[in-house]
């Protein structure tokens, strides 16, 4: 333990990355061939997923082992924190692309198709009679008539759920710092339960949209942005909730101390990030 304090821990050799690359190879080739219509591609894809999951478990087990073994000094801890921060920043930019698409559609392409700015003739000659509104499935009425997802039903409940979970995870964090294990386990459990509840309700919303509202991925630009934004967000919530569960298991096993708990904080940051994205979503996709 003593040498951890003055040496930056540099692992020598690891086979996990190459396993991960092989997993990705199977995954990507599998999805691609499947999308091209080859049945077998699906199974190749599943193999890839399995290998990637195996890699993630193996890699993280190693890291957790090293961490518990006391190999990481404060500087390593800081590297992890910075790494997580920049990773989240990259995720923010990924969402930015889709939000950008939403803003572009609402403020540029839809008005243009309706004849504004330098697009008088676009409307007159190609889309006569189309008036720009939002939500819309475009002048071609792509996907047919649909209902708009109302902001104050399920989505509002979901907002409440996520906001609450943000509070519970913060309480858990403070309890961790104060060394109150009991409160920590309870509130962390609450957090991931709320997370899964969110995912469940979101799924219910999708079923509702598909079965009763004719609101689909194929419902023009409204359907596209709605499902891509909420879908990617939902995926992130799912991943976040799984990570919370793992962290909870680690807490139960007695990992983390008031001054060493990078993994906990990383997941908490991630959870807050998912939360902030949701607020953006709620405002711009559901509400206004």
């Amino acid at each position: 333990m003593s040498h951890a304090d003055d040496h930056y821990y540099v692992p020598h050799g690891s086979h996990w990355p190459i396993v991960g690359s092989i997993g990705l190879l199977f995954l990507m080739v599998g999805v691609s061939t499947w999308l091209n219509g080859a049945e077998a591609g699906f199974w190749v894809m599943l193999t890839g997923v399995a290998v990637v999951v195996f890699m993630l478990i193996g890699w993280f087990t190693t890291v957790i082992g090293e961490s518990q073994g006391g190999l990481y000094n404060a500087q390593v801890d800081k590297s992890f924190r910075m790494g997580m921060f920049w990773f989240i920043f990259s995720e923010v930019m990924f969402f930015a692309a889709f939000f950008g698409a939403l803003f572009y559609a609402r403020n540029m392409s839809i008005p243009w198709l309706g004849g504004s700015s330098n697009n008088f003739f676009t409307n007159l000659l190609l889309w006569e009679g189309y008036e720009s509104t939002w939500p819309t499935n475009g002048p071609g009425d792509v996907g047919g008539e649909f209902e708009v997802m109302p902001p104050f039903g399920l989505p509002l409940i979901n907002t409440a759920i996520l906001l609450t979970s943000s509070v519970t995870v913060t309480i858990a964090h403070h309890s961790l710092l104060a060394g109150k294990r009991g409160i920590l386990t309870t509130f962390l459990a609450l957090t991931f339960i709320l997370g899964f509840a969110f995912v469940f309700l979101q799924a219910a919303e999708y079923v509702e949209a598909y079965e009763h509202m004719n609101l689909k991925l194929t419902t023009g630009i409204y359907g596209s942005t709605f499902f891509m934004l909420t879908g990617f967000h939902g995926m992130h919530v799912t991943i976040g909730a799984i990570m919370l569960t793992i962290i909870w298991l680690r807490v139960v096993k007695g990992h983390f101390t008031p001054d060493k708990h990078f993994a906990f904080e990383a997941v908490a940051w991630y959870w807050h990030f998912v939360d902030v994205v949701w607020i953006g979503l709620y405002v711009f996709v559901y509400w206004i």
């Binding site: 999308l35 590297s79 910075m82 995720e91 190609l126 475009g138």
Partner: protein
């Protein structure tokens, strides 16, 4: 868990590299990974270059000689993707891996295992991309810009294209996170941020750009994928989308991307010119500010690639002005290099020669960039060989020359031997002559009206095309001299730790070749001694 701990234990012993293939597959050593990146990049440079030679052979004379138009377009597309994502970017990441820990006095990169992964994703990505050449419908043929709706006409290669771009993005993002964290967290004590060598600085900014824009590219191609397979309407006007929206998102990535390919080159040149001028870099701090300025501006100029798409007037004017502004900070860099040389005591070893050519020829490329920025004129230049001339001037005698300069500059540090200087100089002169013969005539072709991305052309364009093709073959063959230099790189005289007469920086305080592990403890005294300006 116990094994992990035991494993980790002997890592602190001073051991050398592992034996056999496992060394390269499992390595977490920044020098090994740097080497992997550099070798991969060189291979990709030849693959992409071979594709360029197919293009140039077909264009040698009017009339179709060798390939069908569809295949020609595939070559154009693949050439660009391979060169940009396979050759130039990995080369700079390789240099970063090798040099940054040594330059800042760190024991290794901050996240060594992830470092391995970011490299080993690349062969997968390019394996997938290159395999599309053999698929029904052939490789993607829509240009590296992948504009819809054309890209949606790609055959079976389509999803492979999308996912290989995703993988390239994943690799770049992980590489960039590693570099940022290394620079911010692993510096030796007393290496203040503004003391950092220029190469480290430019890479810090580049890594930031990478993390900011690679995810945006991922988003853009994801939308292509869903438009194609899941019926979304992002790029379909009938559904309320807009094909031009893709171009906005793509260039929001694409323009910073071109600075990603040039900022590290600025860094390399800023290391080399002071060494061979025997004089400190002029205006170190203003160089840092200029690079930051360029990075900032790069986010607000993207639509200069789109002056012909029918943007509203206000948009055109905004993007014209913001683009022109980039000339100012870039000018500061050029002037600083000139001022560094001024009243120095210069010698002209191969790295210096490549750096000097860089300054001359990049500036020419920058000038044509400025001409392109002038919107009404760009309406004439756009999608002609004038643009092709512009970007090859900034990319080939720009980025590629800087990579060559870096390779010659640090090769003795890597191998422990001086390279063959005569061969190096030969490589330089041949490259410089042929690169100009290849790309200078393209300016005339563009102005005279030759569009880009065409396999055949009207007879009035014949002569300059022939010149360019001869130049390209000459330039390609000249690169074989470089391969010769590399193959004989362990045959020369042994290099000293300093290698050159008066280089600055921590990397010159360790022996040549650099030991497998450097700076296990931070070199506090040496930082003080090197007294960075």
């Amino acid at each position: 868990m116990t094994t992990a701990v035991a494993d980790a234990h002997d890592s602190h012993d001073d051991h050398g590299p592992a034996k056999g293939l496992g060394r390269w597959l499992f390595t977490t050593n920044h020098k090994d990974i740097g080497t992997l990146y550099l070798v991969f990049s060189l291979i990709m440079f030849f693959v992409g270059g071979a594709m360029a030679l197919v293009i140039r052979s077909e264009l040698m004379h009017p009339g179709l000689q060798f390939v069908h138009p569809e295949f020609f377009n595939q070559m154009t597309t693949m050439h660009a993707l391979v060169m940009v994502f396979g050759a130039v970017m990995p080369a700079f990441v390789g240099l970063a891996n090798w040099m940054i820990p040594m330059m800042i006095g760190a024991p290794d990169m901050a996240l060594p295992r992830m470092n391995n992964w970011s490299f080993w994703i690349l062969p997968v990505a390019f394996g997938i991309l290159i395999s599309t050449l053999f698929m029904p419908g052939g490789a993607p043929a829509s240009g590296w810009t992948m504009y819809p709706p054309l890209v949606l006409q790609t055959g079976d290669a389509f999803p492979f294209l999308i996912f290989s771009v995703h993988l390239m993005g994943l690799s770049s993002i992980m590489g960039a996170i590693n570099i940022i964290v290394t620079i911010l967290n692993m510096r030796a004590p007393d290496m203040w941020l503004l003391k950092m060598p220029m190469f480290v600085w430019t890479w810090l900014i580049t890594a930031y750009l990478l993390i900011a824009v690679m995810p945006v590219l991922a988003g853009a191609v994801t939308m292509l994928l869903t438009d194609q397979f899941f019926g979304t309407s992002f790029f379909l006007a009938a559904g309320g989308g807009d094909p031009v929206m893709f171009q906005h998102i793509f260039w929001f990535f694409g323009h910073p991307e071109v600075y990603i390919m040039i900022l590290p080159a600025f860094g390399v040149v800023s290391e080399i010119i002071p060494t061979f001028s025997r004089k400190p870099l002029f205006g170190h701090d203003s160089m840092v500010y200029a690079a930051s300025c360029i990075a900032f501006l790069s986010f607000i100029v993207w639509a200069h690639h789109m002056f012909t798409v029918g943007m509203p007037l206000s948009g055109q004017l905004f993007f014209m002005f913001s683009t022109m502004l980039i000339a100012v900070p870039t000018g500061v860099k050029i002037f600083n290099w000139v001022a560094t040389m001024w009243r120095g005591a210069m010698t002209f070893e191969t790295p210096m020669l490549f750096s000097l050519a860089f300054v001359f020829l990049f500036t020419i490329g920058g000038f044509s960039g400025l001409m392109l920025a002038v919107a009404p004129a760009d309406i004439q230049y756009h999608d002609t060989y004038f643009v092709v001339a512009h970007f090859h001037y900034v990319l080939v005698p720009g980025s590629i020359f800087a990579i060559m300069a870096a390779a010659y500059y640090w090769l003795p540090k890597w191998t422990g031997y001086m390279y063959n200087e005569t061969a190096g100089k030969l490589h330089f002169w041949l490259s410089t002559i042929f690169v100009n013969l290849t790309f200078f005539p393209m300016h005339f072709l563009g102005l005279a009206g030759m569009p880009r991305r065409i396999p055949d052309y009207s007879t009035q364009f014949a002569d300059f095309n022939t010149m360019a093709s001869v130049g390209a073959i000459g330039f390609g063959l000249s690169q074989l001299v470089f391969v010769y230099v590399l193959l004989t790189s362990k045959k020369g005289v042994t290099a000293t730790a300093r290698v050159w007469e008066a280089p600055k920086g921590l990397e010159w305080t360790v022996p040549s070749p650099a030991p497998y592990h450097t700076f296990d403890t931070p070199p506090i005294a040496r930082v003080k001694q090197e007294a960075f300006e």
